[in-house]
Subunit: 152 residues, 2 copies
DNA sequence: TGGGCTACCATGGGCTACTATGGGCGTCAA
DNA sequence: TTGACGCCCATAGTAGCCCATGGTAGCCCA
């Protein structure tokens, strides 16, 4: 099951390094991508992270837009222009750029949140709040689906 | 019959481990998932647990929503972000995170409740109360069905 | 039908490997 | 030269692995 699941909170050390959670590293290793693809999430104060699978997904999204169109150029810039590929050290740690840390208000800790095919990095408190909101909305959504369809 | 049925109450040991009931382990083994997928239930003070079948169900639910939509992101966060995959030790025990234990008010015991394709973990007293309520509602429902059709 | 035996299960505890984290040192580049 | 980063080693805490034990439920046999 090569999915990013669960969430973890790790801390930055004095050098600004932080460990990627071991289970996530295992998924990345299976993905065959030697490194970590990172980009700011478009609609949340978080970073989207992943491996080959995530990059492919983004390419597919771009391919769905007409070549040379304004939308495609914008999206490509927004997504790839702001992204980085980081290398993990032999202990599975990486150095998060100042730009990213400032954008997320990260100080001494960061939350790693599994989202299936990718994972996100959040400021822990902010994520806790976001999770509560998401749960509330998901409850409403589930209720609607439950009425229309079957199951759950 | 690969369903989670019946309910069991087991206790946490000094290390915080707890045994998954043997019948449930048998179902998980048949499911072919080496581990236990756990997430907070959206609408009850309980945890939803299961194997591959449960994860697939969630993926299917997500896939039914448009990619990059707000609903999908919310649901993915609420479902996957709050979930964990735990491994069972060779005796079929697992370690429940502090987060989950606190959320359910679990102290020294936990109730494992079969729900067909998944099972739930409850604080035993709370579950007893919930069961009574459910029974009452079920009686009402049965009575209504009994009136329309025949049978019982 | 009753008594004894056995296999399974929940639980306990020791040990080890792994993980997250800390810190030193060399190298490369500004 | 100095700072930053990559590589390496050290360490505490913990999660997983293995073996032990007591109780019980099911089974067999008389």
């Amino acid at each position: 099951m090569d999915l990013f699941l669960s969430h973890f909170v790790n801390r930055f050390d004095a050098k600004g390094r932080i460990s990627a959670p071991a289970p996530f590293r295992a998924v990345l290793a299976k993905d065959g991508f030697d490194g970590l693809f990172i980009q700011p999430a478009l609609d949340a104060p978080a970073l989207d992270c992943g491996g080959k699978a995530l990059v492919k997904e983004i390419e597919a999204l771009l391919d769905s837009l007409p070549p040379y169109s304004r939308e495609r150029e914008d999206l490509a810039t927004a997504l790839f222009g702001a992204s980085e590929v980081l290398r993990l050290d032999s202990e599975g740690r990486f150095l998060l750029g100042e730009r990213f840390r400032a954008a997320l208000d990260l100080t001494d800790e960061a939350a790693f949140v599994g989202c299936g095919h990718k994972f996100q990095i959040w400021e822990p408190r902010r994520f806790a709040a976001h999770l509560e909101e998401a749960k509330t909305r998901a409850r409403g959504l589930k209720a609607r689906i439950g009425v229309k369809g079957q199951r759950e």
